[in-house]
Symmetry: C2
Subunit: 311 residues, 2 copies
């Protein structure tokens, strides 16, 4: 769909961090919304959002933001969604569409949907995009360009509402896919949640060592470790909520990961070079396909600037 | 030391892959060696090295390359070092300095040192630099600039030889550090070897799933998974040899990693949000220090080009 097929009168963003502020910027850049407003709990966040000029109004209370809004997007950590949905319910306009950007979907549908009043639509969504930075200043308009956005309609979701949300994300540059919430949570457990968990974990393990100093970990991090510190620098509250709300799928995938790691550990202990070589040989093809699918740069080392170029 | 304090008459690189060819380019760029030659087993590799103009001569047999060389660098997988050292020993010139670039050091010293004849020096070394690419065409002269190179002299290493090697790597742009071989292996186990192992492992786990298709893993990899595919695309032979030759330290660090992961798994199962939040909050500081130490770019997402900019 072309980006001109959708026009929002008033877009209300509940939460204006990395994702919320990127939506605000992208919506403005593509002329998708006439008015863009946000709600944020802290005065400082509202001040920054207004100073950046990415919203027309910033409110303390979500209820004030959703008044008159035809599109409401929850952009806070998923653990807050139930309470926010309950709070905004009486203030939602007839005909409004409510959605979210949470990284888990089954628990989110269950938390939000019961609070949605008659005459208001709800369709859950998840833009698969982000960086390790947080806060309104970290957002940028191109964050969603060429990235997938997964919509997970429930049985109650009307087709017209799903199409409208599809058109919104398409206008922001995303490729839109529709998926069952439960399947979404399984896919994201392996492509995002478990990778974050093991990145957080190895950074923690390194931090706890007695035989190796922190200064040594930092100096020699270019051997591989530093890659993991990027996603381990992601927002702690957001990720706590992801793991608490996608428990089943994460534990399932983590179990498989640990089983496979134990097999590698055994191959190392017993000096089984063939098993190691075989395992290490099958993983290049996947990266090639990710690059071919436009989801990764083909540049060596992520095209990362060397220290000399950096400063 | 300034780069003019060292001048090599003939530099012999045994193996001309990513590291060997980067040394050739850097040595030429900084005017460190009068003549640069290499040995490579396959005809195709020798042809590419000559066509790229990074070596003056390319030989099939290491013996021919080391003749007349005052600096010999082993740049093949560490599992080959013992046999190569034995093979080149009779052809080494008096006064020559032999070194290597292997990612493990204790096993390397044990494999090479016994073969070094009287009147020839040996000092083990490890430039902590690389990319996920392999082969002579993947090298570049700036690979070592601003990166650490760790020298691990043994009891037999003469100070003059260590100083000479220090001057060589300094001339190539590296910061040089000296370390005990055993301690090196412990430091690299956590900063490089275990990160590679868990990256290979999660890519393998994802590849084996039945409930999630490979196409889904690829499409939604921007959620974190794709970061791991970079180091899991590294050379399988090199990495097989690393794990076979640093067994003890890798198993020690892997044991700690698994213990810590089990604690996180338990926190998820029991819904212990405070434990998760606490763990996820302590990891940002390390990334900040790595960036401050000039070992990482401060750009969000590694400064990675978005798909749009990429094509």
């Amino acid at each position: 769909m072309s980006e001109n097929t959708i026009k929002i009168e008033r877009l209300a963003l509940i939460g204006i961090g990395l994702i919320g502020s990127s939506i605000a910027r992208a919506a403005r850049q593509h002329g998708v919304a006439k008015e863009i407003v946000c709600a944020a709990r802290t005065h400082d966040t509202r001040r920054v959002a207004l100073e950046l000029g990415i919203v027309d109004h910033a409110y303390e209370h979500p209820c004030d933001a959703v008044k008159g809004a035809d599109l409401v997007i929850l952009c806070t950590p998923v653990g807050t969604y139930g309470a926010i949905a309950e709070e905004i319910a009486p203030a939602l306009e007839k005909g409004a569409l409510v959605t979210d950007v949470g990284s888990v979907k089954q628990a989110v549908v269950e938390a939000i949907e019961p609070h949605i009043p008659d005459g208001v639509d709800f369709v859950a969504g998840h833009p698969v995009a982000g960086t390790e930075k947080s806060g309104p200043a970290a957002g940028f308009a191109e964050l969603f360009a060429g990235r997938w956005c997964i919509l997970t309609p429930s049985e109650k979701s009307r087709d017209e509402a799903v199409d409208k949300l599809d058109a919104f994300w398409t206008a922001l540059g995303s490729d839109v896919e529709r998926m069952d919430p439960k399947h979404h949570d399984l896919v994201l457990a392996i492509t995002s949640h478990v990778p974050h968990l093991i990145a957080y974990n190895i950074v923690g393990t390194a931090d706890d060592l007695e035989e190796v100093t922190q200064s040594e970990v930092i100096k020699y991090s270019a051997g591989g470790f530093r890659d993991f510190t990027r996603i381990a620098a992601s927002d702690p509250t957001m990720w706590r909520d992801v793991f608490l709300h996608n428990k089943e799928a994460v534990l399932e995938m983590l179990g498989r990961f640990s089983e496979d790691l134990t097999a590698l550990q055994r191959a190392i202990r017993w000096g089984d070079g063939d098993a190691l070589f075989q395992m290490f040989s099958r993983t290049r093809a996947i990266r090639r396909q990710i690059i071919d699918a436009g989801q990764e740069t083909a540049e060596p080392d992520f095209g990362r600037a060397s220290p000399g170029e950096d400063e």
